[in-house]
């Protein structure tokens, strides 16, 4: 029987997911053995785990290299692939926000188009389009808060957990755009071809998640 392959976002999400899966009887002790191995097999349960960069989880699932994956809603929205998003795991919570300096900053005459620094160019384009605003997206990979500080951008679109980084840099949340949490996404074909096993795993996780809350 072909294994069920999970793509997990390296880091905190993978750890929490491993806890959850273990409590559902899907053993993956090796996941936290801190090894450099990228593929971890759990032959007893017919499962295989890929530890990948968070932003790559939807890609592995879309291509069918993984049958299902756990990633933040932000990553899934940014990738915007036709995946089945089947379960909210309720952890990894944060908010996708637009942030900037409080009040109206003096605008430069030449900046007619709002510049938005973000790790999420696709979400930014879709979001501002829905507001009918024309923007220039400035793609950054981290420390997005620097954008307004250096006058590189007018606003930022980023995830906010505690808000501390914003606060320490004099920025405030201007608008909350979306509630983010960890989601289970499933490849469209795998859900049918390996449906029984995948559904059993998802239902077990659902029972745990809903039982907890």
């Amino acid at each position: 029987m072909k294994p069920i392959t999970f793509a997990l976002a390296k880091g905190r999400l993978a750890d929490r997911t491993a806890d959850l899966l273990e409590s559902c009887g899907v053993g993956c002790g090796d996941l936290r053995a801190n090894s450099r191995r990228l593929i971890i097999d759990d032959e007893k349960n017919g499962c295989r785990f890929l530890l990948v960069k968070p932003a790559d989880v939807p890609t592995y699932v879309e291509y069918g290299a993984a049958d299902l994956g756990v990633a933040g809603k932000d990553t899934i929205m940014e990738a915007n692939y036709p995946l089945y998003e089947m379960l909210d795991l309720g952890f990894g919570k944060c908010k996708l926000c637009v942030a900037g300096f409080p009040g109206v900053r003096e605008k430069q005459v030449t900046s007619a188009v709002k510049r938005v620094a973000t790790k999420y160019p696709n979400i930014a384009r879709r979001y501002y389009r829905s507001l009918g605003e024309t923007i220039e997206v400035i793609k950054l990979s981290g420390s997005v808060e620097l954008g307004p500080l250096l006058n590189l951008s007018d606003e930022i679109l980023d995830i906010v957990e505690s808000g501390r980084t914003l606060k320490e840099n004099g920025l405030v949340v201007l608008r909350e755009v979306f509630e983010i949490s960890a989601r289970v996404v499933v490849n469209r074909v795998s859900l049918k071809t390996k449906g029984e096993r995948i559904n059993a795993i998802i239902e077990a996780m659902r029972a745990k998640v809903e039982g907890r809350s």
Binding site: K2, T59, E62, Y63, G64, A65, N80, Y81, P82, L83, Y84, E85, M86, L87, D88, N122, R183, V186, N187, R188, V189, S190, L191, K192, T193, K194, G195
Partner: protein, 390 residues
């Protein structure tokens, strides 16, 4: 022009002999399958006026089409599928032909798809269009043909996942959801996004009874038993009649002995509006996206002024090819049977001999520059028989 011109643009590819051989091999097998089922092959222009595709038709959005402008200022597009051009053709040039009309094609289509990584911009489709056969008979005919075509290509372990857009529309009618609201929900159901569905129902104040039913839409997939579960969900006439159609189609397929290939998914809705009834996708363990897509689109031809029942499907040839390779079903290139050379005065004789072998189906290459020894060496290299006339 520097190094860029050394490579093909992203999204297109060269087919080198081995891959090309296998691609053409499965295309021919599928074409033969369509041909033997009474379908006639057609070929259509590679590009069309944008208007042809601008009827709001298809899953293709305008920005995904590859466009250019002709000298008269008209916007042209490389065809993103064959279904719409064939609808144009059958509604105009073939409008006086008595139905049923059965057509097939093996042709390239073009789409610029940034958001979907699994796709090429130029891709070959093998498909059929059936006009003038309404109802379950027509649906069952094309589904059976889809199964036979994939089987003839050598694919194993695949299934045809069948849905019915009218079921969802009926349930929406019953729920009193229309227009953009229903469209929004359709997207969530199609992606089986339970959370979004729940939020949607909170925001729109859907009644508890209805809410429970809508929550079950995304999980209405599996074997024939799904149809029973689906009809328990609704009293809407349109939705129930959609289920009846599926049952009838299933009866046909079962009678053909093909029921093991068919599964159902009533939450599958496709993104497009042009489907009016039954829809289906081909899926296999060996590929992460559907390898085949089809359905009924009775109103599409009306957009071209000649309304006629229509159904059909298109197979993604490259996807099937990848699945076949993963199954270990690639064929090696057929070998060359013989190489022929001759002394100058014997060339006529040698040429005639080579042709005689060819007419029996042998592959014979010539190598006029080689003498007897050279030919021997070359023949060993390509594992062929050396035939030298001296």
């Amino acid at each position: 022009m520097t190094q860029l011109s050394m490579q093909a643009p992203e999204g297109v590819q060269d087919y080198l002999p081995l891959e090309c051989h296998n691609k053409i091999r499965i295309e021919r097998k599928m074409a033969q399958c369509f041909h033997l089922s009474g379908y006639e092959q057609v070929d259509l222009p590679t590009f069309e006026y944008l208007d042809v595709f601008a009827t709001g038709v298809g899953s293709v959005r305008a920005e995904q089409m590859i466009k250019f402008v002709d000298s008269g200022g008209h916007i042209l597009v490389l065809r993103p599928d064959l279904t719409v051009p064939i609808a144009r053709m059958t509604s105009t040039r073939m409008k006086d032909q008595q139905p049923p009309i059965r057509l097939y094609y093996v042709a390239n289509a073009f789409m610029s798809r940034d958001s979907s990584p699994n796709e090429q911009k130029e891709f070959t489709q093998a498909g059929v269009e059936l006009r003038g056969v309404p109802g379950p008979e027509g649906d069952a005919e094309v589904i059976a043909l889809a199964i036979e075509a994939l089987r003839s290509a050598g694919l194993e372990g695949f299934s045809i996942d069948v849905g019915q857009v009218d079921f969802f529309r009926g349930v929406m009618e019953e729920a009193g959801l229309t227009g953009p609201k229903a469209d929004e929900l359709r997207g969530y159901v199609d992606r089986k996004n339970m959370l979004a569905i729940e939020l949607f129902m909170n925001e729109n104040g859907v009644s508890p009874g209805l809410r429970e039913r809508i929550m079950r839409l995304p999980v209405l997939y599996g074997g024939e038993e799904v149809l029973g579960a689906a009809s328990d969900l609704t009293q809407n006439a349109r939705a129930l009649s959609a289920i009846d159609t599926l049952r009838e189609v299933y009866e046909h397929i079962a009678a053909f002995g093909l029921s093991k290939y068919v599964t159902f998914d009533l939450g599958m809705l496709h993104s497009s509006d042009y489907y009016t009834g039954l829809i289906f996708r081909g899926i296999t363990d060996y590929f992460g996206s559907p390898i085949l897509s089809g359905g009924r689109y009775d109103t599409l031809t009306a957009d071209f002024g000649c309304s006629r029942e229509a159904t059909g499907f298109a197979i993604g040839v490259k996807r099937v090819l990848i699945a076949l390779e993963r199954q270990g079903c690639m064929e090696p290139l057929p070998r060359i049977d013989a190489v022929v050379s001759a002394a100058p005065e014997k060339r006529g004789e040698a040429y005639a001999y080579a042709n005689a072998l060819r007419s029996n189906g042998s592959r014979v290459a010539v190598a006029w520059k080689l003498d007897a020894d050279g030919l021997e060496a070359y023949a060993r290299e390509v594992d062929a028989q050396a035939i030298y006339f001296e």
